[in-house]
Amino acid sequence: MPNILLTNYCNRNCPYCFAKARVKLGTASGQWEMSPEELETVLKYLGPGRGLVSLLGGEPTLHSRYPDIVRSLAERGYDMKLFTNGTTPELRRSLPPASRGLFTIILNLNHPDTYTSQEWAQIEANCRCLGGRLGLSFNVFTTPVSWEYLREAIVTWKLSSVIRIGLAQPIHGTPNTFLTEAQMDEACQALVAMAEAVARDGISLGFDCGFRLCMFSPEQRGTLAECGTRFLFDCKPILDIGPELAVWRCFPFSNEPPVKLTDFGSLRQIEEHFDRRWGPEQARGNTPSCGSCHNRRTGTCRGGCLSRTVSLSRGGDGHA
């Protein structure tokens, strides 16, 4: 399911931000917003029946018509997944009726020290209001990995018990902060320890794209499985749809030329376009052993994040 970028600006400025190339960070107004007409065009591509609409930004709740958009999508029977930084009051003020489909909220929560007191107060108010409808997202971008505040937030505010785990990946041509290969072992050990620790409170981890199977030993994977971890060792076109209906493979590729949505007959055709465009690079994988890996051949691992592979091939410092 593609991500619909409602805005291209965000009031936060996360060092690892995947969208840095296309999103104006640290501002709450004055940039591009998706128009109702553009949104209608995107919805036509989602296919018949009630589907899932994934709303993103920038910060989507900063869109000047955000309440109207949420209400309209709910009335038309769409399920919604919203990715937010959680620092705006609009998040809790503009909720669809509970009886209308699913409305899942993923709040990306950094360390509390990185927020102003006003921002943290908004996060707390949103979390208290939304409770189990809201899940936390955690991006690992440096080591050592500090995650204890996530458990406290989930237990205190009775949030969803699954934490989305993202690995910060390099965006070629854009100076973001990301995990280097040298940091991976430590980060993965920390994630296993985290999974074991939070499992005592019934909390589990859910991997986002870009992980490799070989980052974890069978023993570590077994531990993660026992702790309810949702595995994902995949990397495929997500399709981020933004200004003027431009479509990128995914945010880490937002420095690459996009395609235009309306030049294609379906989302599947766009995915195939990006698969063709990046196929040779994806075949290489993140590591030298990816090419001959049995798990690559069976499709259970895609060789890690394609952006990391491309960054390495262009002289990036994925292998620090």
Partner: protein, 327 residues
């Protein structure tokens, strides 16, 4: 997850058919539940990606199969038809997946042998099909099972069942001393299926701790649908319209699809029974982290209740009469 038994063959008895009138009652209850926004809605619309399974044994016995399929799909639900063989022509649309019982196809089932043309008919749907395969350790010759697996190229998925018995109907299906051997063989089957490009999923009711940590780690590297150890309400509707928690909990609910908010009644029964899972004998009870994170459903509830049927500890199973609105 919703299971509708629209046609059922039991040896020596006439085929049971779900009348269209009963199906309409299912649709009414489904729409009412979805509109109510109550917790069962979440179970019905989100579990297993909104899939409804029509059990049609044999499919040609249900004259309204195509109509039923179309109605459900028009409501935005994915439909799978579960068959033990039998011609499917005209019975299902192009967007319907087919799950077939591989025991029946191989002729090892107690059901009537399947004719060659039936198999050919099923193979028309191979690309979108999956199969059920019982791995009950005391009745399976694993070598022949692996040979059969090798014929499953082109399938979308194979569901491995453990063959749990129903409530009060017998001993544990896999004796404790057989579990390590069973787990190793199942891992071998899943590995063989992965090499064939076929995804493995596990039928409900298996405790996670049947596998060692190392084995779980290897399973995570295969084409496997997670979670592998689960037990959730199946919302199982009989041809007569009787609604059950699942196919195995026979006669324990007494809710009819025409009752007021039938799915919510089942969900409440589920809430009442779920604390029993904390006494799961497999994994150190409530201290189990897999139980806490729902990585494991605590094994089969039916089997768990059967364990509790000893005279000293037998619980009174919740009955429909005990379930009242608003509780």
């Amino acid at each position: 997850m919703l299971n509708l038994v629209v046609a059922r063959t039991v040896a020596g008895s006439p085929v049971e058919i779900m009348p269209m009138e009963t199906f309409e009652q299912v649709m009414t209850a489904l729409v009412e539940t979805q509109d109510s926004g109550s917790p069962p809605t979440q179970n019905l619309v989100s579990l297993r990606e909104r899939e409804v399974t029509l059990h049609a044994d044999p499919p040609e016995a249900q004259p309204h199969l195509a109509q039923m399929t179309a109605r459900l799909q028009a409501s935005g639900l994915r439909v799978a038809v579960y068959v033990h063989g039998g011609p499917l022509a005209g019975g299902v649309g192009k967007n319907t997946s087919v799950i077939y019982n591989a025991q029946a196809l191989s002729g090892t089932s107690t059901r009537a042998p399947v004719e060659t043309q039936d198999v050919a008919s099923l193979r028309l749907f191979l690309a979108m099909s999956s199969a059920d395969l019982d791995t009950h350790v005391e009745t399976q010759d694993f070598a022949s099972l692996l040979r059969r697996v090798n014929t499953m190229t082109g399938l979308d998925a194979v569901t491995l069942g453990v063959g749990w018995t129903g409530w009060g109907s017998g001993p544990q299906p896999i004796a404790p001393e057989c579990r390590p051997a069973w787990a190793a063989k199942v891992l071998e089957i899943a590995s063989a299926l992965t090499d064939l490009g076929v995804r493995t999923s596990f039928a409900c009711g298996m405790p996670l701790c049947l596998f060692s940590r190392q084995q779980l780690g290897h399973l995570a590297a295969l084409k496997v649908t997670w979670p592998i150890a689960w037990c959730t309400p199946q919302f199982h509707v009989e041809p007569s319209g009787q609604l059950r928690y699942c196919a195995r909990l026979r006669g324990a609910c007494g809710v009819h699809i025409s009752d007021s908010r039938p799915f919510e009644q089942i969900a409440r029964l589920s809430d009442r029974w779920s604390p029993m899972k904390a006494f799961c004998g497999h994994a150190n009870g409530s201290s189990c982290r897999s139980l806490a994170t729902r990585a494991c459903g605590g094994g089969c509830l039916s089997h768990l209740l059967a364990d509790w049927q000893g005279p000293a500890m037998a619980p009174v199973p919740p009955q429909a009469g005990n379930v009242t609105e608003g509780k």
